[in-house]
């Protein structure tokens, strides 16, 4: 029990540090694309500490307080249910106690908590953003769930550990080569999941000032930042496990997650934002059609 607790704390802290560092790298790379010097690599840590130590003298109700906790819990929950390094007894955490279906549920736990908290804040822009977010979520959840279903049907298991072990024995065994269309669809849904351009209709600073967190300040915001960093890393590890053969060692984990993290950076700085209906139409049509090809192949 103590060992599990220590592992949980260390995993969460490690994911937080790694997530914030990845955020720093992405800011520096975006600045280079713009031809700027850009912020320090550690800027996100400085921002987080500053926010944590700022005064929080306002609140708007119980759900408003709980939403950042939901976000953090959602992030840590997904992280703990995913085996981080295949075969490592310490870092499997609680991956034995839940399968892919539980992870799918937990992935939306934080977002739903955030939606309730933002609704409690009473800010009109927050409510607009929540309705946009839930609509977009229902759009990409369809194709992501279908991609996961392709894996489950194709490999005959819902357990992430079994999915990872089915991909061992060579790069051509990875699901990205076995189920290329489902992987492509899942990679498209990775963009709205991370709220990057062109799908960032929820946090659209020029349209609806920052969306759900409009009323969130100081310590609340620092918890939300931490939750987002941890959740980001959890999603990276999940995608590596599902489609890119899992990670057998620290080095392969870091390389694979870093490369996967870089992928939205090639898309987001050069695309403008979709309108809500464009985003939903795209997500319902393109990734769903892609995943349908693999689904038919698996069923037939």
């Amino acid at each position: 029990m103590t060992r599990l607790l220590v592992s949980v704390i260390l995993t969460s802290l490690g994911a937080l540090v790694y997530g914030l560092l990845l955020g720093g790298v992405s800011r520096v790379i975006t600045a280079s694309i713009h031809g700027r010097i850009g912020p320090r690599l550690t800027q996100n840590f400085i921002d987080l500490w500053k926010l944590f130590r700022k005064e929080s003298s306002i609140h708007h109700g119980t759900m408003f307080w709980m939403a950042p906790m939901f976000r953090l819990t959602g992030g840590i929950g997904v992280l703990l249910l995913v085996p981080i390094i295949a075969g490592n007894s310490v870092l499997t955490n609680m991956s034995f106690s839940g399968d892919l279906l539980l992870v799918l549920y937990f992935m939306f736990f934080g977002c739903l908590g955030m939606a309730l908290g933002a609704g409690d804040s009473g800010h009109p822009y927050a409510v607009v953003a929540v309705s946009r977010g839930l609509l977009q979520m229902s759009a990409y959840e369809l194709s992501f769930s279908a991609a996961v279903l392709v894996l489950a049907l194709g490999l005959g298991t819902f357990s992430i550990e079994n999915i990872v072990s089915a991909q061992q024995g060579g790069i051509l065994n990875w699901n990205v080569f076995r189920f290329p269309f489902a992987t492509a669809a899942a990679l498209i849904t990775f963009l709205p999941m991370n709220m990057t351009y062109p799908f960032n209709i929820v946090l659209a600073p020029q349209e609806i000032p920052i969306g759900p967190p409009t009323e969130y300040s100081s310590r609340f915001l620092s918890f939300m930042f931490s939750g987002r960093a941890i959740f980001g890393v959890a999603k990276l590890i999940l995608f590596v496990n599902l489609f890119f053969g899992g990670a057998g060692s620290w080095s392969s984990l870091l390389i694979k997650t870093f490369l996967l993290y870089m992928y939205p950076l090639f898309v987001s700085p050069v695309f403008p934002r979709f309108r809500t209906e464009q985003s939903v139409r795209f997500l319902w049509f393109v990734p769903t059609s892609l995943v349908a090809v693999d689904l038919l192949r698996v069923i037939l």
Partner: protein
């Protein structure tokens, strides 16, 4: 919707983390995206590759709840002052004010106007003034560097001054804003 409670007087009890806090605050200044007067146009170039304010950790935030700095960018009409007070009081402590241009210092070319204020510091506490009409982006960055230095030295305490002397500031604000309908404090 309003909470009418007057804020408590600031208590200085953060000695253990103070150095680290001040360092973090100085290197992560988030600005409320809010412009008054003609100086707002001088803030746009700060985003660009030529001036790049992000290298100092300075970023724009679209809501006062999440920001640290309010920039009064030029002349301030009485009507806008009312909005500035609301925005300033919604920012969470510690918060700083950077005032740009001659207009905020002594009224500038609008010194005898019937509807602009002359000395900004009488209405809200200013931490750093940047003079000029209008100050170029280089001067604004220089003002930011001075503000960062003051924060690191623990001398940017306008927000404490505001809370300690709230009656003084309210008196001045009420004198100039005729249709006063603000609550005791804008939480």
């Amino acid at each position: 919707m309003y909470c009418n409670k007057i804020p408590d007087k600031p208590v200085d009890n953060e000695k253990i983390w103070k150095k680290l806090d001040d360092l973090a605050r100085a290197n992560s200044l988030w600005i409320t995206a809010y412009g008054t007067g003609c100086g707002a146009i001088e803030l746009r170039p700060l985003h660009t590759s030529r001036f790049d304010m992000e290298r100092f950790g300075i970023a724009m935030r679209p809501t006062p709840r999440q920001s640290d700095v309010l920039i009064i960018s030029g002349y301030l009409s009485v009507k806008t002052l009312k909005r500035v007070i609301r925005v300033y009081e919604q920012i969470q402590d510690p918060k700083y004010i950077l005032a740009l241009g001659s207009c905020t210092i002594d009224g500038g070319m609008y010194f005898d106007s019937y509807n602009t204020i002359n000395i900004l510091d009488r209405y809200i506490p200013v931490d750093v003034y940047v003079n000029g009409c209008m100050p170029r982006p280089e001067a604004v960055i220089d003002g930011f560097i001075l503000l960062m230095k003051k924060i690191k030295e623990g001398k940017a305490v306008g927000w404490k001054r505001y809370k300690e002397n709230l009656e003084y500031y309210r008196k001045n604000q009420r004198e100039i804003i005729r249709n006063w309908d603000l609550p005791d404090y804008n939480w």
